[in-house]
Amino acid sequence: MMLAQWALSMGAVELTQMQWYLLVGTAIAVIGLVRMLLTRDLLARLIALNVTGIGSLMIILALAARTAESGDATGGTEAAGSGIDPVLSALVITGLVITVAFTGLGAVLIRRIEGAQDAERAHTLDDVHDPERSGDAGDRE
């Protein structure tokens, strides 16, 4: 909101719906990026990476919606589905799937890394075998 007011006052820009989402997408991407670079927790990094991904895809889809705005000047910005550029939409779906694939691999890697760390810690702390094992605690000995 403040950002939009700032943009309004600085550039005297009449914001359109598309520009608004462009700004929101940029803000989301930047916040995710900064968080990703600053945090040390692996899962927090992965989540921040996803936030960055959402922001980038929002930027692209806002660009896609621009066709709808410029295409018909009759004020059809709210028209669903008809005006949006199908090529860019398809690209966003592709980008979404690829982000999911990478996040999945990252999540599995995090689980393995932390499982190995837990096992190591358990071994150094006590060499006694834990007699009972619950269902998902298979990563501990």
């Binding site: 991407a29 990026l33 990703m36 692996l42 990094r45 992965l46 990476l49 960055t52 991904g53 980038s56 930027i59 692209i60 660009l63 621009r66 090529v87 860019l88 690209l91 592709t94 980008g95 690829i98 982000t99 694939a101 990478f102 691999l105 990252g106 890697l109 995090i110 393995r112 890394i113 190995a116 000995e141």
Partner: protein
């Protein structure tokens, strides 16, 4: 495309699709079958690349509109000189490394095996679907009570992942479409991360870090591509280049978006090439990867990002004067990379991290040409000759030099990493001090390291020398003398750190005691591969590094095919 498709055009698509098919099918196979399939596939890819290279060398750019849809809607595969050269280098390095990995499965990583399975079956790897009933019983016992699983050398998951990676590399090289390039880069990035992770527990953190960088770089690239699309209305590389050239000719105000796109794309790709100061992920990833994977990463995977960078700067953006600042920033980072990478390489005590830092240093060379692209006038010596012709000559020389450096680096670094990984597997360490005198026991390995060092330093006759020569001459012609300084400094530095890496392995007679302190060679009855023919692989690549040096003129000729000037 109504006429029946020529064989060469089929090769253009098959060079991407066949490795991918082999990758998918190999998921269902056993270990031995995967190795056979890997070798067969690499020979096939070599066979598919050959007609493409021949056709392109004869001066013809290959184009295939997939599905019969021409470029604004569909995707066009395109192979020009640049594509053909990178395809060929990838095919050679890929085939040699595949043969190495097939001959020495232990070099492909580490796998975790249930201890129970180990005892019961003598050949757990070859158990197919037929053994399902017994396997089911075993699994139940695995769940209930058995000792912890153990790590074993060798991971057959290497084959589907590497073949998929190869397919992605080829997809990037023949792509005529920006978004398709993005998908290809993602295929390469994902498989590269997974290949690093095959190195076992110690490699997982490095793989995860690599994953973060790869995704971040791709997202930046993707935003840039979307911007270019929203300016030009097309994703085709040539067509968008034409539109941008028109924009540049008519009204300059529209170019802000293009400049922004180029910034985002260059930043994303610089992350993937590991340009200083974005290089820190590369060292753990490349040095903790398995022996058969490090050469692929260093020689091929980062070249995919470099290829896209050259494509975008030369074919899409063209010489826009607005990009001057960006070009100088990137070239400056390249020069710093040569310095920082070399100094850090000199400070390493282990072989694989040293070679990884040398990759960081060498990557710097590939960015030096960018200011030349924007300022190709021959301001210096040959100022009086016709300018248009000379423009092309400077560009051709700069691009030819950079490509020669990149290709030479691919061959030499693959050989160096293979030899270093081999030594590490042989002795269980890659501390340079502990490997003193290893050259006596393994002359072929150390000789191949020497040959690749010649290529990386850029001594005469090697491809590296050709590249530096071409780059230097065009820099002089354009009056950019600073490039000469950087090249000379880089050469001296690389000589220093490579000497540091290779010389201790060669210590001669008077140091007999040091030779005796070599760690016990950990060869085992099953590891005959360690002393056998597998050593030929780095040697072949090392020889190629030196032998390809005379190809300089041919190389610039091939690059003229489909060149943007």
């Amino acid at each position: 495309m109504t006429a029946p498709m020529s064989l060469t055009l089929f090769c253009l698509a098959a060079v991407v699709l066949l490795p991918l098919l082999a990758s998918a099918l190999s998921v269902l196979l056993g270990t031995a079958a995967r190795r056979v399939m890997g070798v067969i596939t690499s020979v096939t890819v070599l066979g598919l690349v050959t007609p493409i290279l021949i056709q392109v060398t004869s001066g013809q750019t290959l184009e295939l509109a997939l599905g019969g849809f021409e470029s604004p809607l569909g995707i066009t595969l395109r192979a020009d000189g640049l594509s053909a050269l990178f395809l060929a280098m990838t095919a050679i390095v890929g085939a040699v490394v595949s043969c190495y990995a097939a001959a020495r499965p232990a070099a492909t990583g580490k796998r975790l095996v249930p201890a129970a399975e180990q005892r019961r079956r003598s050949h757990p790897a070859d158990a197919g679907i037929g053994a399902e009933a017994t396997a089911h019983r075993e699994a139940r016992s695995v769940v209930h009570a058995d000792p912890s699983p153990v790590w074993r050398a060798g991971h057959a998951g290497f084959w589907p992942l590497w073949l998929g990676c190869w397919s992605g590399l080829n997809a990037v090289f023949v792509s005529g479409d920006l978004f398709n390039t993005y998908v290809g880069l993602e295929l390469v990035g994902l498989t590269a991360v997974a290949l690093v992770a095959l190195g076992g527990r110690d490699a997982w953190p490095a793989a995860l870090r690599y994953l973060f960088i790869a995704v971040l770089g791709s997202l930046l690239f993707l935003i840039g591509v979307a911007l270019i699309y929203s300016v030009t209305g097309t994703l085709d590389i040539i067509a968008s280049g034409e539109v941008i050239a028109e924009l540049a000719a008519s009204h300059d105000a529209d170019l802000a978006a293009v400049v922004l796109a180029l910034c985002l794309i260059s930043l994303g790709l610089a992350l993937k090439v590991a340009l200083v100061p974005l290089h820190r992920w590369l060292i753990p990833a490349h040095s903790s990867a398995p022996s058969a994977v490090s050469p692929l990463l260093s020689a091929l995977v980062i070249k995919a990002a470099l290829f896209v960078l050259l494509r975008v700067w030369l074919w899409v953006a063209g010489p826009l004067p607005e990009l001057v600042i960006l070009a100088w920033v990137l070239a400056g980072m390249g020069a710093v990379a040569i310095l920082v990478g070399s100094v850090m390489a000199l400070r390493q005590s282990r072989l694989k991290p040293l070679i990884a830092y040398s990759t960081v240093a060498q990557a710097g060379y590939w960015f030096l040409l960018l200011p030349l692209l924007l300022d190709p006038e021959t301001t210096a010596l040959e100022g009086q000759t016709g300018t248009t012709l000379e423009d092309g000559a400077v560009l051709a020389g700069a691009l030819g030099g950079t490509v020669a450096l990149a290709l030479g680096h691919g061959l030499a670094k693959a050989s160096l990493f293979l030899a270093a990984g081999h030594l590490k597997d042989l002795y269980g360490t890659d501390e340079i001090d502990e490997l003193r005198g290893a050259g006596r026991a393994h002359p072929m390995l150390v000789m191949s390291m020497g040959l690749s060092a010649v290529g990386l330093i850029g001594l005469p006759l090697s491809l590296g020398f050709t590249g530096k020569w071409l780059l230097a001459t065009s820099a002089v012609a354009a009056g950019h003398y600073w490039i000469l300084v950087v090249l000379v400094a880089g050469t001296l530095f690389s000589a220093a750190y490579l000497l540091k890496a290779v010389a201790p392995l060669l210590v001669m007679s008077e140091d007999d005691q040091t030779a005796l302190t070599l760690p016990q060679a950990q060869t085992h009855p099953d590891d005959r591969a360690l002393t056998g023919k597998a050593q030929l692989a780095p040697f072949v690549l090392g020889l190629l590094t030196v032998l390809t040096g005379f190809l300089g003129a041919w190389l610039t000729g091939v690059l003229e095919v489909g060149a943007p000037w």
